[in-house]
């Protein structure tokens, strides 16, 4: 059976799995962004907490995904929740790192003149520092999202949603005529989602960055 025949036959089901995959990635990236940016804001000004945040989120990324999903079964059971938690953890490092880098590379003269005009700490962060760091932060989010698209496939081991299901099903039936087309079409789907997400965040970055600081 060729992959084209397979797609023709299973197209609708694959599309539904693709949507599931996309949704879980977007949920995880959104959570990861809120946690990561907050962590970055809280730690970027002082050396020790900054290093701790980077090291901790760095360690997350080194845990093999199979192991992490397995470990999360005990507290969270099977299904969507362990997958989301794991994906959020994997997504943190690029976001935290870019938030810290972005905030730390804002020209001190700009921050000083904001302070000199009577902008308080909070207003300065919201109106000046975050908008100026934004292009760097959103790039971190984009990298995170693409990483998560691939890792989400492994979520199927804990019964998570998405295209990973088809990959694991196919792997369980290696030797049958549909195994290869099934695995290949799921992989293809994941690649397409990754490209779409990358492109989506590129557009978001463009639309949310002030014209005054666009390259």
């Amino acid at each position: 059976m060729s992959i084209l025949d397979y797609l023709n036959d299973q197209g609708d089901r694959l599309f539904d799995l693709g949507i599931e995959h996309l949704v879980i990635v977007l949920i995880s990236v959104t959570l990861s962004t809120s946690i990561g940016v907050t962590l970055g804001i809280l730690t970027y000004r002082t050396e020790a907490p900054r290093q701790a945040a980077l090291r901790l989120t760095g360690v997350f990324l080194t845990i093999p995904s199979f192991a992490l999903f397995g470990l999360l079964i005990a507290p969270l059971g099977l299904g969507t929740s362990p997958v989301v938690v794991a994906l959020v953890m994997y997504g943190l490092l690029p976001i935290v790192r870019n938030t810290i880098t972005g905030l730390r590379t804002v020209d001190p003269a700009i921050v000083e003149s904001a302070q000199g005009m009577g902008m308080g700490r909070y207003r300065r962060l919201l109106r000046i520092e975050l908008p100026l760091a934004w292009p760097v932060i959103i790039t971190g989010v984009r990298v995170s999202a693409v990483i998560i698209v691939g890792i989400a496939a492994i979520g199927a081991v804990v019964n998570g949603p998405g295209l990973g299901k088809d990959i694991f099903r196919a792997l369980a039936r290696v030797g049958t005529p549909t195994a290869i087309p099934q695995a290949l079409s799921a992989v293809l789907g994941i690649i397409i989602i990754a490209i779409l997400i990358d492109f989506f965040f590129l557009i978001v970055a463009r639309l949310t960055t002030s014209r005054g600081i666009r390259a």
């Binding site: 003269a109 904001a114 005009m117 000046i128 100026l132 014209r211 005054g212």
Partner: protein, 400 residues
Amino acid sequence: MSTTTSTAEPMIRLEGLTKVFPGQKKPAVESLDMDIPAGEIVVLVGPSGCGKTTTMRLINRLIEPTSGRIILEGEDVTDVNPDKLRRRIGYVIQQVGLFPHQTISDNIATVPKMLGWDSPRIKSRVDELLSMVGLEPATYRERYPKHLSGGQRQRAGVARALSADPPVMLMDEPFGAIDPITRDRLQNEFLRLQETIRKTIIFVTHDIDEAIKMGDRIAILREGSAIAQYDTPERILSAPTDDFVADFIGAGASLKRLNLSRVRDIALVDWPTAGTNSSRAEVLAALRASDKGAVLILDEQRRPVRWISGRDLGREDEPIAEAGHLPEAIIQPNATLADALNEMLKSRVGCAIVVDQSGAYQGTVDFATVSGEIQDMRRDARERSRAEAEGIHAEGSVNG
């Protein structure tokens, strides 16, 4: 030492202001007393590391003083909310620090927005300020800082500092990062602006020439922000209190004094003029009636358009408005004599043409005028130091 002579209440009074940075034994600013009179430009100048920038930042409390008081308009502001205090004090730094992600209009609106002005009021204020600093509002309002030249950014920075009409402005080397020619123009523009806005300005620089040009008063500071001399530029140039001040002023004090006299303060020299529609005979008559070698042609608004010499008149084919050559070396009454001298060196006729704001001819300045002024200043300084030497004998001490 106490140095102020003004009797009116000062805009800013610093009392025993001291800053010791953590981990340092020596204070960066040590027990500074200073009165800053309303409506004047007071320049803090001194070698690097003397604490002049620290002193300025103590005033808007970007650096919190270790001890001492800051009195603004008679009110002790040492302990008030610093953000609220800073909205009453304009602030311009060398790097300007415009917000790159905001339009020029949004940049200028920063403080008015925080003060809760309504948007029509903000909009009209922004336009007013842009015109005031010489940026056409319709062109520049919606631009971003990256679209502006260094000089234009500096002007926008001044407009932003003036936005809520603060009584006081702090300027930290505001023209330091700008090329010399633009710097000179911006300094002149700023002085002209100050004539109308009359703000109390504290201006930090390390450049004594800039201090002399910009300051109504100059405070020369030595280490620990100790005042070596606090006086008018004239007095500092003619009567430095000690070797530190004399060394800091450096050589060429009499040339520097040319920066202190302005063209409007001296008698202008009349020059033969004629209108663009005059006949050749009329121009020739004007030339013969004077001892000069050329006639200045003015248009209907009395703006200089051509220089015509006797030789140019010989070429009958050219209309009067196109004969001769274009007038160069045009200056305004607020230019300094140093500017005038500089310009007349470039002029073929050897004089600088003085025009008013609208560009209409007022008169000229020539070498004889400038050298006469130098001699006058020398004589004044000599007489003053003689009088002072006698005063010291009489009273034992003289100051301010």
